[in-house]
C-alpha cells in the first residue's frame, strides 16, 4: 500500500519544485518583497496587487468602514482591498498553519489579518508571521507611546503586527430600565438576584472570554499571577473564586446559563429589544454609533466597573506566506493614516478609539479628530480606568476550563 505520507511529501516536493521554476522564470516580481525595503519600492511593487484582508465580518459598521477604505486605497495606491469576512480569526491562524504543514510557503490565501492576543501569540510562536514590517510604515511615526502598543497581552510585538485600534470592555445600559446599574462583579450578582436581566456571550466568543477574564481579575486574590504565563501559576487556586461566582451567577442569567448570546453585538440587540438590561461592548463609543444609526434608544449610557475594565489594542499582521505583501503593507499604512483613524474613531462610522497620538498630528489631522461628536451615549472621555489583559496564555486556559464546566 502506498503510504499517504510519501504521497504528501511527493506533492510537497512537486509544489516546491513548481514554485522554484516559477520564481526562476519570473525574476523577483512578487515574492521578493522585503519588509524593510524603501517605501518607494513597496509602493511600486504593490501596484495592481489584490490584498485579501481576513477580518471579522460580524459588524456591519466595520464592514462599511472597510469598504470605504477599499475605495480610498484603490484610488490612491492602485491596490485592491478585499475584505474576507470571517467568524473567528483563530480559524484563519489554523489555515495558515495548515498551509505551512503542506508546504504552501508562497502565494498563500491570506495577505493581511486582524489579530491580537492569543492569536498573535500563536502566530508568533509557530512562526507564521512575516517580519517586522510595522516599523517600516511611514504612518507608524505618529503612534502613541503606550505599552499597550508594544506588548500584546504581555507578548512583545516587535513590529510583527501593526496597531489598528484600541478597545476597552464597557457596559451599555438603558436608563429607562435600570436606574442604578451594577458597578462591580459582586454588585452584578446582586443585580440579577433582584430580577435584573443580564447575559454575556459564551466563551470562546471573544467578548465572552474577556468578560470572564474581567470577573477573574476582580475576584481573584492573586492578581499578579495573571501577568505571567498560565503554566507558572496555580490555576486552581487563582480561579476558584471565579468558578464559585459563575456557579451562582449563571442560573440567574437570561437563558439560565443554558443558552447564550452569540456575540457582544447580540447583547446590544437584546438591550434594544428589552430582553436584557445591560449590554457589553469592547468599544467605548459603540452606544453613540448605535443610537445614531437607530439600533439603541437615546436613553442608553455607557460606563465601566469602578475598579476599571480590561482594555487592549488590536492589530493587523501579514502571514509569512502572503501573496501580496507589499499591498498588505500599503493597507496597514493606510489604516494608520489620520484620515482613516479619524473616520474609524467617529461613531457615525465605527467609533473605534485611535492608536495615534493626537498631539503628534499636524493641524489638519488634529482638526479631523476635533470634529468628532461622541454624544452623551459614549463612555465619557477619561472616565473608565483600564485594566491590563492577562498574559495571552490565560485566554485558552480559561476558555477550556469554562467549557468543561458549563459547556455541556
Amino acid at each position: 500500500m502506498i503510504r499517504l505520507e510519501h504521497l504528501l511529501n511527493h506533492c510537497k516536493k512537486l509544489r516546491n519544485l513548481s514554485a522554484a521554476v516559477l520564481i526562476s522564470v519570473t525574476p523577483a516580481t512578487t515574492s521578493a518583497t522585503e519588509f524593510d525595503a524603501p517605501w518607494e519600492k513597496i509602493l511600486d511593487e504593490a501596484k495592481g496587487q489584490t490584498v485579501y484582508f481576513n477580518a471579522w465580518g460580524g459588524s456591519d459598521r466595520i464592514n462599511s468602514y472597510l469598504s470605504w477604505a477599499a475605495k480610498s486605497i484603490e484610488n490612491e495606491y492602485d491596490v485592491k482591498l478585499e475584505h474576507v469576512k470571517i467568524g473567528d480569526i483563530a480559524e484563519i491562524v489554523s489555515q495558515v498553519e495548515a498551509a505551512k504543514a503542506v508546504g504552501r510557503d508562497t502565494a498563500g490565501n491570506v495577505d493581511l489579518m486582524w489579530v491580537n492576543g492569543e492569536n498573535f501569540a500563536a502566530m508568533k510562536n509557530k512562526q507564521l508571521v512575516w517580519g517586522a514590517f510595522a516599523h517600516s510604515l511611514p504612518n507608524a511615526a505618529r503612534l502613541q507611546d503606550s505599552e499597550s502598543l508594544t506588548m500584546d497581552f504581555s507578548v512583545p510585538v516587535e513590529g510583527l503586527e501593526s496597531p489598528w485600534g484600541g478597545a476597552q470592555l464597557v457596559f451599555i445600559y438603558d436608563t429607562a430600565v435600570a436606574e442604578k446599574p451594577p458597578r462591580s462583579a459582586t454588585e452584578l450578582l446582586e443585580y440579577v438576584e433582584n430580577g435584573g436581566r443580564f447575559a454575556y456571550p459564551a466563551p470562546p466568543a471573544f467578548l465572552g472570554t474577556t468578560m470572564v477574564k474581567q470577573f477573574l481579575h476582580q475576584l481573584t486574590d492573586q492578581k499578579s499571577a495573571l501577568a505571567q504565563p498560565v503554566d507558572q501559576a496555580d490555576f486552581e487556586a487563582v480561579t476558584t473564586p471565579l468558578w464559585n461566582y459563575l456557579d451562582a451567577l449563571h442560573p440567574l442569567l437570561w437563558g439560565k446559563g443554558k443558552s447564550w448570546p452569540t456575540s457582544a453585538e447580540k447583547t446590544r440587540q437584546m438591550v434594544d429589544d428589552g430582553e436584557i438590561d445591560i449590554a457589553i461592548s469592547f468599544n467605548p463609543n459603540e452606544a453613540s454609533a448605535a443610537v445614531k444609526s437607530g439600533q439603541l434608544p437615546e436613553t442608553v449610557r455607557t460606563y465601566t466597573f469602578d475598579e476599571g475594565t480590561i482594555g487592549n489594542t488590536h492589530f493587523v499582521t501579514i502571514p509569512y506566506n502572503a501573496k501580496a505583501k507589499a499591498g498588505a503593507m500599503i493597507v496597514a499604512n493606510f489604516l494608520l493614516s489620520p484620515e482613516a483613524q479619524a473616520r474609524k474613531a467617529d461613531p457615525q462610522y465605527w467609533g473605534d478609539p485611535t492608536v495615534l497620538a493626537i498631539d503628534k498630528l499636524d493641524t489638519a489631522g488634529k482638526a479631523l479628530f476635533a470634529s468628532i461628536d461622541l454624544g452623551p451615549w459614549a463612555l465619557p472621555i477619561g472616565s473608565g480606568k483600564t485594566l491590563p489583559e492577562p498574559h495571552a496564555s490565560w485566554a485558552t486556559a480559561i476558555e477550556q476550563a469554562w467549557l468543561k464546566r458549563y459547556g455541556k
Binding site: G58, E91, A101, K258
Partner: protein
C-alpha cells in the same frame, strides 16, 4: 463519442464523491499524519462534547423528520380535495425555493421572546410590557431547530407526495374506498398510503439525512453549547490539530445516518405487518369531521408560520426603528438597502455567477446524460444521483477540502462551482428524467421522417416540447446553488463570499435590519427564478404556436 460524453459526466460526478470520502477516511484513520496528526477516533470519543452533540443531532434530526412525515400525511388525508389543498399547491413551490437559512432567520424574528408573535399580542393580550423570560431562542433543547427544519422540510415532502398522487390513482382509490363505505382517513391509510409510501420513501430518507447533518440552519437555530454534531465537527475541521478528529467524526456521522436508515427499514417492516393485518379487518371507521378541521388548522398554521417568517424578513429590511412591544415598525427606511447596496452587490454578483453557471452546467449535463440514456449508450443510474443527497455534506466535504488543500485547488472558482453542480445535478436529472422518459418517441420519428438530423430534432423538437420541465429544473438548480453554505465555505477558502456565507457569518453581530435585507435578498433570487420558470414556458409556447 456519445458513450464517451456519458462516461465523462458520470466520472465528473463520481470523482469528487470518491475523493471526498477517501479524503475523510484517510485522515480519520491516521494515515496522513502530516495533514492530520493524532488518532481521530480516540480524541473524538474523549471529547466531552461528543455524546451530548450526537444526542442533540439524533433528537432534532429524528423528531423533525417524523413531524414532517406526520404533517405531510395529515395534509394529504385532511386537505386533499379541499380549498386548502389548492392553496397549498400554489404556495408550496415558492416557499420551497426560499433558502433554509433565510427562513431560519425569519423564524427567529418571529418566535423569540421579543419576536413578532409576542409583539403582536403584547401588551394587550399577554400583558407583557417587556419580553417574557419564559423561553429563549435558540433554546438549549433544540426545539427551535426542530421547528425550523419542519417548516422547511414539510413542503418538500408534501410536494414530492403530491407529485406521486396521479401515479397511485388517488381519485379512483378514494372513490372505490368511499363506495365500499370506508371513512376518508381509512381510504388513505388502507388503500393509498401503502402504494404512496414506497414512492416517497427516498425523499424521506434524503430529508432524514439532511436533518441529521445540517450545518447552516443548526448554526442559526440550534443551541450553541453544545452545538449539533455537524456544527461541532465544523468547528474542529479548520484546525490542523483536530482535523483527524473532525474526519473521524464525519465518518461517525455517516455511520449514524446509515444506522438510522436501518431503523427506518425495520420500522417499515413492522408497520407494514401491522397495517396488512388491519387491512384485512374490514373495519370501515367513522368520519371525524372535527379532527379533520383541526388537522387542517395545524397545516394552515405551519404554512402561516413559514409565510410570516419570510414576510418578516422584508418588514425588518425596511425598518428604521421597531422597539418592543410595537406591532409594526414605528419608523421605516430604505436605508438598509440603499446605504449598503455596494456591500450587497459583490456577494450578490458572486452568488448569481455561481448560480447561473450551476444552472447551465447542471441542465446541459442532465440533457446530455438523459440523451445518452435514451439512445442506450449508458444505463439508467437513478440511484447514483441520490448519493450526494444521502451522504452527509460534512462527510463528503471534509475530504474534498483536504484533497483541495493538497492539490492547491481550494479557493478556485471552478472548485466551488463544481461542488454546487454536484448538489444541484441530482435534482435536475430527477426532474427531467420523468419528462424525458414520458415524451412520446413519435415526435422524434416524425421529425426524422421529415429529414431532420439528430441535433435539429433535439433543438427544434425535443427541447421546445420540454421547455416547462427544463425551466422548472433550472429554477431548482438555481435555488440549490443559492442556498449552498458548507461547500462554498469549505472549498471557497474565503474567496467566494456568497449571500449564504455572508448571512451566516454576519448573523452573530450585524444589525438585524441588515441581516433581514441579506436574507430577503437571498430569498428573492430563487423566488424570481421560480416565477420565471412559470412565466417563460407560457410566453415561449404562446409565441411558437400560431393562433
Amino acid at each position: 463519442m456519445i458513450r464517451f460524453t456519458g462516461v465523462l459526466l458520470a466520472l465528473l460526478f463520481c470523482l469528487p464523491i470518491a475523493v471526498g470520502l477517501f479524503g475523510t477516511i484517510i485522515p480519520a484513520t491516521g494515515l496522513a499524519p502530516e495533514l492530520a496528526p493524532g488518532n481521530g477516533f480516540s480524541e473524538l470519543f474523549a471529547d466531552p462534547r461528543f455524546w451530548p452533540s450526537i444526542y442533540l443531532s439524533l433528537k432534532t434530526g429524528i423528531i423533525a423528520t417524523v413531524l414532517a412525515l406526520l404533517l405531510t400525511l395529515l395534509s394529504l388525508v385532511c386537505a386533499h380535495g379541499t380549498r386548502l389543498w389548492h392553496w397549498l399547491n400554489g404556495v408550496l413551490p415558492p416557499l420551497l425555493a426560499v433558502p433554509h437559512a433565510a427562513i431560519a432567520v425569519g423564524l427567529l424574528f418571529l418566535i423569540s421572546p421579543s419576536g413578532w408573535l409576542v409583539r403582536l399580542t403584547s401588551p394587550a393580550v399577554s400583558g407583557w410590557t417587556r419580553p417574557p423570560d419564559l423561553w429563549v431562542i435558540p433554546d438549549s433543547g433544540g426545539w427551535s431547530l426542530i421547528i425550523g427544519l419542519v417548516i422547511k422540510e414539510t413542503p418538500f415532502l408534501l410536494l414530492a407526495a403530491a407529485a406521486q398522487l396521479p401515479a397511485v390513482n388517488v381519485d379512483a382509490a378514494l372513490r372505490i374506498g368511499r363506495t365500499l363505505g370506508y371513512a376518508p382517513a381509512r381510504c388513505w391509510s388502507r388503500l393509498i398510503l401503502p402504494l404512496l409510501y414506497p414512492r416517497i420513501r427516498l425523499t424521506l430518507l434524503i430529508i432524514l439525512a439532511f436533518n441529521l447533518s445540517v450545518v447552516d440552519v443548526a448554526i442559526l437555530l440550534g443551541p450553541g453549547n453544545p452545538p449539533t454534531f455537524s456544527v461541532f465537527l465544523l468547528s474542529l475541521v479548520s484546525d490542523p490539530d483536530s482535523r483527524a478528529t473532525a474526519s473521524a467524526g464525519a465518518l461517525v456521522l455517516a455511520a449514524g445516518v446509515a444506522i438510522v436508515f436501518c431503523f427506518v427499514f425495520v420500522l417499515e417492516k413492522i408497520i407494514n405487518h401491522i397495517a396488512s393485518n388491519r387491512r384485512e379487518s374490514g373495519q370501515r371507521g367513522r368520519a371525524l369531521p372535527y379532527l379533520r378541521k383541526s388537522a387542517q388548522g395545524v397545516v394552515a398554521l405551519l404554512l402561516t408560520v413559514s409565510i410570516a417568517s419570510v414576510a418578516l424578513l422584508f418588514i425588518w429590511s425596511f425598518t428604521q426603528r421597531w422597539r418592543f412591544p410595537h406591532t409594526l415598525p414605528t419608523n421605516w427606511t430604505l436605508n438598509n438597502w440603499t446605504a449598503r447596496s455596494g456591500e450587497f452587490l459583490s456577494p450578490m454578483i458572486t452568488t448569481l455567477l455561481l448560480a447561473i453557471t450551476t444552472v447551465l452546467l447542471a441542465v446541459s449535463a442532465a440533457i446530455a446524460w438523459l440523451e445518452c440514456e435514451r439512445r442506450g449508450s449508458v444505463p439508467q443510474l437513478d440511484w447514483l444521483w441520490y448519493v450526494p443527497l444521502l451522504v452527509p455534506q460534512v462527510t463528503l466535504l471534509f475530504g474534498w477540502q483536504a484533497a483541495a488543500l493538497l492539490t492547491g485547488t481550494d479557493g478556485l472558482w471552478l472548485t466551488v462551482a463544481w461542488s454546487h453542480w454536484i448538489y444541484s445535478l441530482p435534482y435536475v436529472v430527477l426532474i427531467l428524467a420523468v419528462a424525458w422518459r414520458e415524451l412520446d418517441p413519435n415526435w422524434n420519428n416524425a421529425a426524422a421522417v421529415l429529414g431532420a438530423g439528430y441535433w435539429r430534432i433535439l433543438f427544434k423538437v425535443r427541447l421546445p416540447i420540454l421547455v416547462k420541465p427544463l425551466c422548472q429544473a433550472a429554477a431548482v438548480a438555481l435555488a440549490v446553488s443559492v442556498s449552498q453554505y458548507l461547500p462554498t465555505l469549505l472549498l471557497g477558502a474565503g474567496r467566494h463570499q456568497t449571500l449564504a456565507i455572508d448571512l451566516v457569518t454576519s448573523f452573530g453581530g450585524v444589525d438585524r435590519r441588515v441581516i433581514a435585507a441579506l436574507a430577503a435578498l437571498q430569498s428573492l433570487l430563487p423566488l424570481i427564478a421560480f416565477i420565471a420558470a412559470l412565466v417563460i414556458p407560457r410566453i415561449y409556447t404562446h409565441r411558437r404556436v400560431p393562433v
